[in-house]
């Protein structure tokens, strides 16, 4: 489960049937200090996240379980919106 920032939305009309009606958001992986790393990924959103929000996402089969139709090929899903990040002061 990793931190990310929603940076956009992906529209796809021709897709697998189980993706019908789903919101596909573009997420930039970030670390706990909000620095971006790696390439943006496409995730499924079920909790109405918006562009600019800091979220956390899960990958692989468990990600697809957030959807009603669990037999779907999704492998990355937003599972929560971050309100606050508390870091231990580096000792």
């Amino acid at each position: 489960m990793k931190l990310g920032k929603v940076i956009g939305r992906v529209v796809s009309s021709t897709k697998v049937e189980s993706f019908e009606g789903l919101k596909l958001l573009l997420v930039q992986p970030i670390d706990e200090k909000l620095n971006a790393y790696g390439e943006p990924i496409v995730t499924v959103d079920t909790i109405q996240s918006n562009t600019g929000q800091i979220i956390y996402y899960e990958t692989s089969k468990e990600a697809s379980m957030v959807l009603d139709k669990i037999m779907n090929p999704c492998d990355a899903a937003i599972v929560g919106i971050v309100d606050e990040i508390n870091l231990e002061t580096q000792s």
Binding site: M1, D31, E32, I47, E58, E62, M65, I81
Partner: protein, 89 residues
Amino acid sequence: MILGKVIGNIISTERAIGYGGRTILIIQPIEPSGTFKGKTFLAVDTVQAGVGDTVITVEEGGSATTAIKEPDTHTVKTVIVGIVDHIYH
């Protein structure tokens, strides 16, 4: 299962199914000697771990669900399953 150190937590009111009401901690993977190694990740706590603890984490859905032992948590994949007292290596 991998070793990690809890370096913080996140507060989040808006969550997907299966994540409700559980503490989510920020984990820094470590080598057995304790030196930090690799990118941090988030994990659902199931053993009341706190910031500064060294912990054992699992990153696999089936195991995660057995750690939480509650219905509809099959969306959870990364959990803390133990607090480390000592590492002999």
